[in-house]
């Protein structure tokens, strides 16, 4: 919009300048014509009595056919004195030797080269014809026009710069408002500041704020619903699982085996519920963060959780580079879900006899590397799809990677999957890039 406004205003201003200058030239042309004609007529009329007196004074004397008095310089006006028969009696020194091809009639006449004025003595015995070269008039008009257009040519770029500056300054609040609205996402629903905005923009800011409040309510309701669903789903499963485990402890024989099958089903149900709740949260857009948090602590907590629940706690190795940190406006919950899925995948699908290395590096980079046969490009594409499970034989929902990817998109965190892993001929590596701002 700024660019278009600048272009239109500059174009309009330039057009106005040019039209004004053109009109000026046109007026100047007319006025110059009047002035030159006036001078021509005045000169002719003044010359008539002088020449008549001079001729009377020299009566009978040989009369010079050419004026000898003003041959010092080039004449601007030339004249010829002719009798009623058209014979040339006298001429100024620059005037042509042949009589002008102009009728002996009082008034103006124009040919291709001159503008004439013919004046006559009383009785029309003597005719004085004064001529003004049209070339002189054109030159005057051209110089005058140039004097008008030259400043315009300088003023156009100056006015472009001025218009650009004025437009930018005037539209700066619009840019500020646009940027403030652009910053809004699932994690930042703070109202747009409207106090500093011009009066015309305040209703827009108010409308945006109203919309943000409604959006926040919708997000809250969705998250609340997800949280309630989590509670409503988990608690009965927890009760059923605990009762089943008590039953297993109390039973012997076939009854115990059946109870164990129920327990296995409940554990599967627990896992599926977990994944679906995570997916629901990812779809509800929990990735945005409202305040600055320390994700390194979340990383340590999640790794500790896995160490406590996995039968091979030493398989998980967390390395934190000296000075590496992960602080920023992110969602701790989203990051924890991402980590749980990625670490679970690494433990489940990685080689059991190789460690799962989790590295927090400087520059806001998290790497999760596990041992694995290198994956082909096709397999890499499959595992990134929802319910895509590649060629693994390990149990899994096929949702983990897509949940992680969805949340990382919401968090604006770079996500790469590599196989083979960096610096190795095999293995699988996931890289999360938070950027230097988080480190």
């Amino acid at each position: 919009m700024t660019r278009r406004l600048i272009l239109w205003l500059t174009g309009a201003a330039t057009a106005f300048w040019l039209i004004a200058a053109g009109l000026g030239v046109s007026v100047m042309h007319d006025e110059f014509g009047e002035i030159f004609d006036g001078s021509l007529q005045e000169t002719a009329e003044r010359l008539v009595p002088l020449i008549v007196d001079e001729m009377d004074r020299r009566q009978g004397e040989a009369y010079p056919r050419r004026d000898q008095t003003d041959d010092a310089g080039e004449e601007y006006l030339v004249y010829q004195v002719r009798n009623a028969g058209g014979e040339l009696l006298f001429r100024s020194h620059d005037a042509p030797e042949a009589p002008f091809d102009v009728p002996l009639k009082r008034g103006f006449f124009t040919d291709d080269t001159y503008r004439f004025f013919t004046a006559s003595s009383p009785g029309d015995k003597i005719f004085v014809q004064v001529a003004d070269a049209l070339e002189n008039r054109s030159e005057a008009l051209n110089e005058g026009s140039l004097a008008l257009f030259l400043p315009v040519l300088v003023l156009i770029p100056v006015s472009v710069l001025l218009i650009r500056q004025i437009v930018r300054r005037t539209l700066a609040p619009v840019d500020d408002l646009r940027e403030a609205i652009e910053e809004k996402d699932g994690g930042n629903m703070a109202p747009v500041a409207s106090d500093m905005l011009p009066r015309e923009l305040r209703p827009i800011a108010r409308s945006v704020n109203h919309l943000l409040v409604r959006l926040q309510s919708a997000f809250d309701a969705e998250r609340e619903f997800t949280a309630n669903s989590a509670h409503e789903l988990r608690t009965p499963i927890a009760g059923a699982l605990a009762q089943t485990q008590m039953l297993i402890a109390e039973l012997d024989g076939p009854g115990r085996r059946r109870a164990q099958q129920i327990e296995a089903s409940l554990i599967n149900l627990r896992h599926t519920t977990e994944k679906l709740l995570q997916l629901a949260r990812a779809e509800a857009g929990i990735g945005g963060g409202a305040e600055s948090v320390d994700l390194a602590r979340v990383l340590e907590l999640v790794v500790t959780d896995f160490k406590r629940s996995t039968p091979q706690p030493d398989r998980l190795q967390l390395h934190r580079e000296d000075g590496a940190a992960l602080v920023g406006t992110y969602s701790e919950d989203a990051f924890a879900i991402v980590l749980r899925n990625l670490i679970e995948n690494a433990l489940l699908h990685g080689r059991r006899d190789e460690p799962v290395n989790i590295r927090l590096e400087q520059g806001g980079v998290v790497r999760i590397v596990n041992g694995a046969v290198p994956l082909s490009a096709d397999e890499m594409a499959v595992i990134r799809r929802r319910f895509g499970r590649g060629s693994t034989v390990a149990s899994g929902s096929g949702l983990g990677l897509s949940i992680a990817e969805r949340l990382l998109q919401q968090m604006n965190v770079g996500f790469e999957v590599l196989s083979p892993a960096t610096g190795r001929a095999d293995g699988f590596e996931v890289v999360l890039r938070f950027g230097a701002a988080a480190s």
Binding site: A227, A230, H231, L233, R234, T235, P236, I237, A238, G239, A240, L241, A242, Q243, Q245, M246, A249, L266, R270, E274, L277, R297, V298, L301, V302, S309, E332, D333, F335, A336
Partner: protein, 220 residues
């Protein structure tokens, strides 16, 4: 050990109560915060298992009240809230551990044991006291190389003393641990079981602090 369970879901609460009681702990099961507060005013517990979403409020409020009043009883939160922010809030409010539903009862036992070891100042799964070696996970006791067999009540007394090795445990606290067995507690019940423990483990391991209670030596 006497344990307070605060859980409003009857099916889960019953299973957890029975499971914990089967570990020779005395369990008081409350379903509301109000009842839990009343129990805490009346009894000194060795551990609290606390649900967060209860009919009359949020468990975190009770936890904060406890810590604000200087009560350091270990607390394990049992909740369906699995979000890490809830967990961080719980830990910041003074919880010792956080277990997300649905959980395995075996994992609950392991977490209880770990918390009790940690809060008792003993981080090793095997406690060594001079020539005594006690494995709390599988509840086995060795005197030198020889395994000592303890009854449920004797284990309950030893477990209560082991919760804080080197610290004085009052007679009332040991009595509360013995409530799990449902029988009447006579005025000399504690003395009887302490005496039996001394016979099996040796006289020097359990010391009497006259008029105050008993203590077991700090671990080696």
């Amino acid at each position: 050990m006497r344990i307070l369970l605060v859980e409003d879901n009857e099916i889960l609460g019953e299973a957890v109560r029975d499971h914990v009681a089967a570990q020779d702990h005395a369990v008081d099961w409350m379903t509301t915060l109000e009842d839990a507060r009343a129990s805490l005013r009346a009894v000194s517990y060795g551990l609290i298992l606390l649900d967060l979403r209860l009919p009359d409020g949020i468990g975190i409020a009770l936890l904060k009240e406890l810590r604000a009043s200087g009560n350091a009883t270990p607390v394990i939160i049992l909740t369906a809230h699995d979000q890490i922010s809830d967990r961080i809030e719980g830990l910041n409010s003074g919880a010792d551990d956080y277990l997300v539903k649905p959980f395995d009862l075996g994992e609950l036992s392991a977490r209880m044991l770990a918390v009790l070891r940690r809060t008792g100042g003993n981080v090793s799964p095997v406690i060594r006291l001079a020539d005594l070696k006690i494995s709390q996970a599988d509840r086995r006791v060795f005197l030198g190389e020889e395994e000592v067999s303890l009854s449920g009540r004797e284990w309950a007394v030893l477990d209560t003393l082991l919760a804080r090795p080197g610290a004085i445990i009052s007679k009332a606290q040991i009595e509360e641990a013995l409530y799990a067995f449902g029988s009447e507690i006579e005025s000399n019940t504690v003395e009887v079981y302490v005496s039996r423990l001394r016979k099996k483990l040796g006289r020097d391991h359990v010391a009497t602090v006259r008029g105050v209670g008993y203590k077991i030596g700090a671990p080696a």
